[in-house]
């Protein structure tokens, strides 16, 4: 088995449909997730919106395929790097733990997707998340995946948990809260390893944080994740703090989202 497995070869059954991110965002149903692609007004994801339940279903499908790729990415981090200087045993053990968590998240989200009225393959999949997990430097990989993408997952799960609460759906609220707890743990792993492995390497730290920004920017399309009242996905300060983010780092993500939103409007 090779080291570094390319995203285009990720093994899937016939139900999965792979699209580029551009294609996926061009899907008119994508607007339900982002809350407004081409001029549509942004709106926080709530059951009260006319298309709220549809958006939630689409988002749950997105969570499911995201969890598969997160599982695959964590698994590859166990395999791709030589034990020792490249990746300490403790880091690999954390990634193995994350594999188990992500496998359970797949199980949870596929059941929730069905519970919410969608099914596997109704929406397309892009491989952006896994692509971030292909970085050949384990520090950059963990920063991009665990801090940027799992950080986004914190915001998404908290939003879905609130959606479940507002919709009077205790199953959704219960499951999202459990997954949220795991995500905080994963982001904290990323924060801890970033600091440990770059303790005496400022250059590598800078590169890792830059890579995180690139990934954060990729997932900030139209500023759909932010702190504004009408942001479809709400940036969650409290849980990010628990996961090792500083106030400045959270401010930076909020600013990035605002910029993305302004760009989308102009």
């Amino acid at each position: 088995m090779r080291k570094i497995f390319p995203a285009e070869e990720l093994a899937r059954d016939s139900r999965f449909i792979r699209q580029s991110n551009e294609q996926r965002m061009g899907d008119p149903r994508g607007a339900r997730i982002a809350g407004g692609n081409a001029g549509d007004a942004l709106a926080k994801l709530t059951p009260g919106l006319p298309n709220g339940p549809d958006r939630a279903r689409a988002l749950m499908h997105g969570i499911f395929v995201g969890e598969i790729q997160a599982l695959e990415g964590a698994g590859r981090t166990c395999w791709d790097f030589e034990l020792g200087d490249e990746a300490p045993l403790a880091l690999k053990l954390d990634m193995a733990r994350q594999c188990w968590d992500e496998a359970r998240h797949c199980e949870i989200s596929v059941v929730l997707a069905e519970h919410m009225g969608t099914e596997l393959g109704e929406y397309a999949e892009n491989a952006l998340l896994y692509e971030a997990a292909c970085n050949p430097d384990p520090v950059l990989r963990l920063t991009g995946v665990n801090r940027a993408l799992e950080g986004l997952a914190i915001d998404v799960f908290n939003t879905m948990k609130e959606f479940g609460n507002m919709a009077g759906d205790p199953v959704l609220e219960f499951c999202e809260d459990w997954m949220l707890a795991d995500e905080v743990t994963h982001v904290k792993m990323g924060s801890d390893w970033l600091r440990r492995l770059t303790e005496n390497d400022k250059d590598r730290l800078d590169k890792a944080l830059e890579f995180q920004k690139v990934v954060d920017r990729l997932f900030s399309f139209n500023g759909f994740r932010g702190e504004e009242d009408d942001s479809p996905i709400q940036l969650t300060r409290r849980f990010r703090e628990l996961a090792g983010f500083t106030d400045e780092e959270i401010d930076e993500i909020a600013d990035m989202s605002r910029d993305a939103r302004s760009e989308a409007i102009t």
Binding site: M1, E9, A11, G75, C78, D80
Partner: protein, 218 residues
């Protein structure tokens, strides 16, 4: 009223644990080092394979089992310093070159259509050999001096049995034709031959020697 001065034996009548064991401290540390090496190689492989298998249920099981074996590696890693090995990496080695060859062959299948081979290597060859070696160690070591190892092995064996059962059922569910059966058997034979040369996951003596040595009289 209880007579607090009435003497009792240190071992209750039903407690038949015995003091002697098959392994001294150094032998135990050496075996634990081999076990840890095997667990690391296994969890790395399972993690790597997740992206390569299209079957959703298999993908999720491999991700789950990946953590089980990582946890086993961690338990063995923590046991080594208790056995006077402070540089745990020093003993985290394969028992011989055949075991290295075994893992190279076991992890060779990558293509999406080779799930049967991937599963057979782990669940029909490696895990049964792990269960055998761990059981031999668990039953042979001192039940008093080396109880910490027994406790670890008991937890691990529980996982191994459960994972073996899940893996075996996945294999059975995937073999639907005589050709697929042939593929499974052929891959199993290939890997078993290497394991035979290795002498088991801890090298020769992994499960002891059952034969009686007879000294010929002239």
């Amino acid at each position: 009223m209880t007579d607090t001065k009435r003497p009792r034996e240190p071992f209750a009548p039903w407690d038949r644990r015995s003091l002697p064991g098959l392994f001294d401290v150094d032998e135990t540390a050496e075996r634990i080092g081999y076990y840890k090496w095997v667990e690391i190689k296994l969890f790395e492989a399972l993690g790597g394979w997740v992206a390569t298998v299209p079957e959703l249920d298999v993908k999720l099981r491999l991700g789950t089992h990946c953590y089980h074996h990582a946890w086993h590696a961690e338990l063995f890693d923590k046991r080594l310093p208790e056995l006077r090995e402070m540089q745990t990496e020093r003993l985290t080695v394969p028992p011989n070159d055949h075991m290295v060859e075994f893992f190279e062959s076991m992890t060779e299948p990558e293509a999406a259509h080779l799930t049967i081979e991937k599963l057979v290597g782990v669940y029909r060859v490696l895990i049964p050999h792990k269960i055998a070696a761990y059981t031999y160690h668990r039953n042979g070591t001192s039940e008093i001096t080396d109880m910490p190892t027994i406790r670890i092995l008991d937890f691990i064996l529980q996982d191994e049995f459960n994972d073996w059962r899940e893996g075996e059922m996945l294999i059975q569910s995937m073999i639907e034709s005589p050709e697929e059966l042939e593929r499974a058997m052929s891959h199993q034979t290939k890997l078993e031959k290497i394991m035979l040369a290795a002498g088991g996951i801890a090298g020769p003596g992994s499960i002891g020697d059952p034969y009686v040595e007879i000294v010929e009289k002239n």
